[in-house]
Amino acid sequence: MKFRKTMALAFAALALSGPAATAGEAQLSGEVRIGELNSYSTLPSFTEPYRKGWSLAVEEINATGGVNGKKLTVISRDDGGKPAEALTVANELLSREKADMLVGAFFSNVGLALSDFAKQKKIVYLAAEPLTDAMVWSNGNPYTFRLRASNYMQARMLAEEAAKLPAKRWAVIAPNYEYGQSAVAVFKKLLSEKRPDIEWVAEQWPPQGKIDAGPVAQAIAAAKPDAILNVMFGPDLVKLVREGNARGLFRDRAVVSFLTGEPEYLDPLKDEAPVGWIVTGYPWYDIKTPEHAAFLKAYQARFNDYPRLGSIIGYSAMHAAAAMLRKAGSTDADKLIEAGRGLSLTTPFGPITFRPADHQSTMGAFVGVTGVRDGKGVMMNPAYRKGEDYLPSEAEAAKMRPAGN
């Protein structure tokens, strides 16, 4: 008896989620539903601006008549920062909330899990942020599109700059997981191709989030490199910069660094921001194009805050999704894929196209040199690098994808 009672109690918790299952079942024919998920609790410094970005886009889209005459509704969820939890959430968005397509994710492994899920469930997934090359190449599938300039593209942009440096002895500091490993592998390959005369003299692979920066900086300095490639970001970057500065690691050495110019990572450093590093990032204060000026004005008016890279990604992702739905004129997955292939739209970074062969967008990135202005870290002389110039040709890309995709 008691057993039944306790079980009833326990199952009540599960059943609680039952009555809420109304939104999707009502099947409001007057709206198009996008299921959005991202690491809101795990990485709020990126995802909060990202949320603002896509919210702004949704307001704009609905103010101008929505999608195909229907209101665009976004159902947003936290993905828990883990692939397994993200899949639970994706299931909810799909079966209970009746999402017509999925958008989002930050971490590469979450993005890959979602892309495989999209293929299994035959629903279109637009990966916003995940950088891994596997997403569109070795694990590519027809249902997955990716917005952000990938790992390969950013590595190629940086390698191009690095090749111009006189430095011959290179050292590497990168986080010990797939992102760091593939960023380093691509950068090394491209740079060594352009500059057969250079040598790789030292490597350090601290665990992501747990760098013991003192010994790492010391070990790299001991190899006496001319230049350093850095892939650390977030709290690890702060530690590395502080220890490196104190130990003179960066003095008289060129540093090439992934992502460091993004406000998410550069701003916390304030006046301690490194000077003279060649970085990719988002210099929102120095972009003078009309597309960006319009975005900046709307964003600042709406949120009374400056945009981060997350804002651009969220804003562009939602506009890209809406453009895909408009072009397809339907929410049918096959029609959406057809519409997505070769889809062009204008983002705050300029015009982009989703390449038919690998579903990668041609959104580029800004490359510049870090400096300190008014006590804040900034990117000096930023230049926009168009994505299409840094991608392998579509024929080559198609060969990298699994057969039949």
Binding site: A21, S45, R96, K239, G248
Partner: protein, 621 residues
């Protein structure tokens, strides 16, 4: 040469930070026997509060004053937490306090983001210690030199406190024999509060002293807590000098290890722990545990199998569960499948924790072995779903069997921590061996086939397996072997004297529990269609522990109820709010305070009361 000296000094500085956190944890555990999972949270809050104070207070005095004030304020917060939460549950089964501190950690993680915002915060550096000093042509940051001095000074001060003051004498007395100290008139309550506040003070100070080195962010808590635990265990529980030596050992091996193996940082601390425990089962300076308390699961009421009515109810429940896909949407079916999988995991941990009285902090090891077993069977051997599901549990059996052989000499928290090390080493293999496991990007495309391709089909499959596993666990529990296990758990020496072999019994318990967990892991792989190193990571271990504790460690149905309640709640909260950790933490805390014997434990108590029978007169099913 000068480089080696510089690297050594850098290692010393790293050791000092580690020691400060670990010493507080060690002191708290030594006296209160509380495995304080919230120690990392206090460390993080210390850093946040210090950031706020040092941004506002000006000058050198302001900075140092801010740091000390922050540590004192957080210590007061810690004392409050002890009075409001822990003090009420010291009588609960061992490890139950772990659940309470876990709840506190969840709350703190979300609360700091609410209060201080999502961005990481870089604080000011200590006035006067911002530069570096050239030593043997190497630049050493002045702050590092300060830390190098601080480590031994802190050790010396703590030694004086414990050996030359009345407070210290009382603390040592309570560490040795709590009941005796209480009997001699020592006010245990306030002694515990004082010790807890001291430990938290040290944690918060360590956090505040990170300001000049790193940014303050909401990941700090989990990044430090495991390392701190490992250092305490390597040093020997309750030994502050041991913690100091352990911190030195870990930091120096890391500083020099990375020169030979640049990727070693990921596992070095766990390798050191495994190596030390292999030679010294109680850590470097620890003493054999003077088992002050019986194991967690020792219960006054002997367990009894379900009666006819209970069995009927179980069968009815299973039948009712079968109907779920007919009355609910797909999402609920998938969520229920996940809940059932975690029920299997919790039942397998219960076999170890409650039936055999062996705590494990690394149950994820066996869960992950099952999941990767599936990945290997499907991708490597090209097997179908059925064969993969049948073979994958063997991975758990072999893993658990080998581990239990290696860990035969250990017991208590040391054994629990070695399971954690085992899980972490497996995790790092899955994480690093990219060619085979795909590393962090995992193994994709493991979707179920045939009738199970539909969520309802896979749900029925999982339900069937769950009924089998739960049924088997109850058969084992009430077989002569199960009674023998409980005999070993409650009185190992008496059990041995009547011919039961404690070592063999425990080994079997490990093998059974490992296989059960692997069954859950294998199903999980197919549910998600993919396997990631996360399946081997600490959160899985912590979740499974929380489920068993929540349900009631001294009961037989606890794991089932705990798993269903915990998993259903966390899935539901994830879909409802971004602050799911805060909400889950509050619920856990409420349950801990309201039902210190767990969800099922409390029902047993109520029944006793209704039946007007004295407690301990036998369990009712």
């Amino acid at each position: 040469m000068s480089f080696w000296i510089a690297q050594f000094l850098t290692g010393l500085a790293s050791a000092a930070s580690l020691f400060l956190v670990a010493s507080g944890l060690s002191i708290i555990f030594g006296v209160t026997r509380v495995v304080n999972f919230a120690h990392g949270a206090f460390y993080m809050i210390g850093a946040y509060v210090a950031w706020s104070l040092t941004e506002r207070l000006a000058g050198a005095f302001g900075w140092w004053g801010g740091v000390l004030l922050a540590a004192a304020a957080v210590a007061a917060l810690g004392a409050l937490a002890e009075i409001l939460v822990l003090r009420r549950i010291y009588q609960a089964p061992e490890l139950f306090q772990l659940l309470a501190t876990f709840g506190l950690t969840l709350i703190a993680a979300d609360l700091v983001v609410m209060l201080w915002g999502p961005d990481e915060l870089v604080g000011r550096r200590a006035p006067g210690l911002t530069g570096s000093i050239a030593l043997f042509d190497q630049m050493i940051p002045a702050w590092d030199l300060f830390l190098i001095v601080l480590g031994p000074v802190a050790l010396g001060l703590l030694w004086l406190l414990f050996n030359r003051t009345r407070f210290g004498v009382l603390v040592r007395a309570a560490t040795q024999d709590r009941e005796m100290a209480a009997a001699l008139g020592v006010n245990e309550k306030w002694l515990f509060t004082g010790v807890f506040a001291l430990g938290v003070f040290l944690a918060a100070l360590a956090g505040a002293l990170q300001l000049p080195r790193e940014s303050v962010n909401h990941h700090m808590d989990l990044r430090i807590i495991v390392d701190a635990f490992v250092v305490v265990v390597i040093g020997g529980l309750g030994s502050i000098t041991g913690a100091f030596i352990a911190a030195l050992l870990v930091a120096q091996l890391n500083a020099f290890g990375i020169l030979l193996f640049p990727k070693i940082s990921l596992v070095i601390i766990f390798l050191v722990m495994a190596a030390v425990l292999a030679v010294r089962p109680w850590g470097l300076l620890g003493r054999p545990d003077v088992a002050q308390r019986p194991p967690a699961a020792t219960s006054a009421r002997p367990w009894r199998p379900l009666g006819a009515a209970g069995r009927l109810a179980m069968a009815a429940l299973a039948l009712a569960a079968m109907a779920l896909p007919f009355i609910s949407g797909e999402y609920l079916v998938i969520a229920a499948t996940e809940t059932l999988i975690f029920a299997i995991l919790a039942v397998s941990l219960h076999m170890l924790l409650s039936v055999a009285g062996v705590a494990s902090f690394g149950h994820a090891a066996f869960f992950g072995l099952g999941a990767y077993g599936v990945a290997l069977a499907v991708k490597g051997l090209g097997l179908g779903m059925g064969a993969a599901l049948a073979l994958a549990p063997l991975a758990g059996l072999v893993g658990a069997g080998l581990f239990a052989l290696a860990a035969a000499r250990l017991s208590g928290v040391y054994l629990a921590m070695l399971t954690l090390a085992f899980a972490q080493i497996l995790w790092s293999i899955a994480f690093q061996w990219v060619e085979v496991t795909g590393g962090d990007n995992g193994v994709l495309g493991l979707w179920p086939t045939g009738f199970a391709a539909q969520p309802a089909g896979f749900y029925w499959l999982t339900l069937g397996v769950a009924v089998l596993v739960i049924g088997a666990s109850r058969v084992i529990m009430f077989s002569p072997f199960g009674y023998g296990l409980r005999g070993v758990r409650d009185e190992a020496r008496r059990a041995a004297s009547i011919g039961v072999r404690p070592g063999l019994m425990r080994w079997c318990a490990f093998a059974i529990a490992g296989t059960g967990a692997a069954v859950a892991g294998a199903l999980f792989a197919f549910l998600k269609g993919s396997v990631f190193p996360d399946t081997l990571a600490i959160p899985v271990s912590v979740d499974s522990l929380a489920m068993v504790l929540l349900g009631g460690v001294q009961t037989t149905l606890g794991p089932l109820v705990g798993a269903v309640a915990y998993k259903a709640l966390s899935i539901w909260l994830l879909s409802q709010t971004q602050w799911s950790k805060l909400a889950l933490g509050l619920v856990i805390l409420a349950v801990v305070l309201a039902f210190p014997r767990g969800l099922v434990g409390v029902v047993n108590q109520w029944r006793d009361r209704w039946a007007k029978r004295p407690p301990g007169s036998g369990e009712h099913p």
